[in-house]
Amino acid sequence: MAFIGLLTLVLIALPHGLSYSQREILVVLTINILVVSSYRLLTLTGEWSLGHVVMMGVGAYASALYSKEWGVPVPISMIIGALTAGLVAWGLSFPLFRMKGFYFLIGSFAAGEIIRLLWKRFRDPFGGPKGIKRIDPFPDIDLGFIRIDFFDPVNYYYFTLIIVVLCLVILWRIEKSLIGLTFHAVHWQDKLAESAGVNVRDYRTLALVISSTFAGLAGTLLAHYIGTVNPNGFDIEQMVFVLTWAIVGGTTTLYGPIIGCITLTALNEIVLRELGLEQGRPLIYGLILIVSVLFMPKGLEDVVKRGVAWAQLQIVKERTNGV
């Protein structure tokens, strides 16, 4: 409880100690946490997709178009944008879940690339290679006595923080529910799960749709903040970053991917940017990916687990010594 209180204070105070550009990065980081956490939900069923970032893009494009072309108010366009991503994922589940494992990985990559190339090819309505510009921003909120301007990264940070925390609570609940248990069952022994009456394909589809919906929501959060989307923003390189966060952090706990995302973003923004090594960013990322697969296959979460276990042991020791 004290930990949660402290965390809340830190999260609220955080943007005030940062520069303007760092605040903008903080917004993107918060959004990325949702991307990687929703990705993890799919990995619970044992399938690894390479199309997750494209699903994020589907949400971003959809919300941008709904608000720009049809005049849908932005908060509503964001919700239906996210749902659009879920719907597209549902459609893709029919071909993709005829495959498993490695074939699913490649299949999801192909499906994602096709979507991305469609954005690139069709100038109307997707804007071609340059994408969509001047997307409507999230509207200001005027409460009379106070006016919240979401162009300000601090305000937008608080807004995304609330949304993302809400989403994380939902993801947490899903995982701890009987549905989450069934996801695990599908992962570890799909034949045994099936013999218990589990429709394995439906559960895989459910995981894909939920994770894609949240990825889509993350996409809408990004689109209405930076005001532009383009096909290259959702390419395989971005996907590799998400994959890296998940693998470096570990995927057996909810916090694993989040730790991975925060650690690598901090490393990237603080260390590499300060050292002027921006060109070397993929180099370092690549090395970290290789090294963590080789030497830390259980991810950073395992380090945290061991740390906590060690701390508990120390406390117990101290108490027994005191007695």
Binding site: I106, A110, L117, L283, V293, L294
Partner: protein, 284 residues
């Protein structure tokens, strides 16, 4: 006719890359995502030694072959061997390696496109409308020579036999006294070297940049899926088919549509028959 020649040229370098990819997958059971980057490395060997240092082109190609082959062995030692029991891990590590190579080349050479001066400007004029630049003919011939050599190696030599045996059944191969480790190293060298040669001989015809690996690996994936993972003949056959379809669509409609068609084709094959149209074995 001209389109057919263009397609043949594309099929030539694509089949070199794809065959290498299949070979590595067959023997080691891992998909090398960095294979497109090995192609790109081959092209940069030409940029460094031929464009910049003016060494003879044929020698440079030979160096490209050996250099990239050695990079392949490096990958085997640092990643694929330690991760041999973890196929997903090997795949992810190869993605990491991809980023490392790409970034290293970007730092060393810059992101801009390199123009490699053609070795020869000669053009064989087959008819009024059909022209075949000798440089392209050279790519086609190299592919033909390399693939024939590989075929002879696999069918006629002891190592080739060992390689095929361990691709089909690693345990049986081990019982026969074949060192799977040696076979892995050889497969990695050949697989990588083929991609390197493809990059080297193609470099003067295309614009070389650090990101060319991407489109190559995507095409190669399409080809090995359509050709049937694990089938070398299938990979060659699919390369020719794919290159022809892709070139025709690029010529008459546009390149992005051609890519979409290619990817859809791959998805279709995955839906209908995940082991590919010509595939015989399924290792995953």
């Amino acid at each position: 006719m001209q389109t057919g020649l263009n397609a043949l040229f594309a099929a030539a370098y694509l089949s070199l890359v794809a065959v290498g990819l299949v070979l590595i997958f067959g023997v080691m059971g891992v998909i090398n995502f960095a294979h497109g980057e090995l192609f790109m490395l081959g092209a940069y060997v030409v940029v460094a030694l031929y464009t910049n240092l003016q060494m003879p082109f044929v020698l440079v190609v030979a160096i490209g072959l050996i250099f990239v082959g050695l990079v392949g062995i490096l990958m085997e030692f640092t990643m694929f061997h330690p991760l041999r029991d973890n196929p997903l891990g090997g795949l992810v590590a190869s993605i990491g390696f991809l980023m490392v190579i790409q970034a290293s080349i970007t730092i060393g050479f810059g992101v801009r496109m390199e123009h490699v001066p053609p070795v020869t400007q000669d053009v064989i004029i087959l008819s009024e409308k059909v022209r075949l630049p000798v440089q392209r003919l050279f790519v086609i011939l190299s592919a033909f020579v390399c693939l024939t050599a590989l075929w002879l190696f696999l069918k006629k030599t002891k190592f080739g036999w060992a390689l095929r045996a361990s691709a089909q059944d690693p345990e049986a191969a081990m019982l026969q006294g074949i060192s799977t480790r040696t076979v892995s190293i050889i497969a990695m060298f050949i697989g990588a070297a083929l991609a390197g040669v493809a990059g080297s001989v193609t470099a003067p015809v295309i614009s070389v940049s650090p990101v060319i690996g991407h489109s190559v690996i995507v095409s190669a994936f399409i080809v090995i899926i359509v050709g049937g993972i694990g089938s070398l003949e299938g990979a060659v056959l699919a390369s020719v088919t794919y290159a022809f379809i892709h070139t025709v669509i690029t010529t008459f409609i546009d390149g992005v549509i051609a890519d979409i068609v290619g990817l859809s084709l791959m998805l279709l094959v995955l839906i209908i028959k995940p082991t590919g149209m010509f595939g015989t074995q399924d290792r995953v």
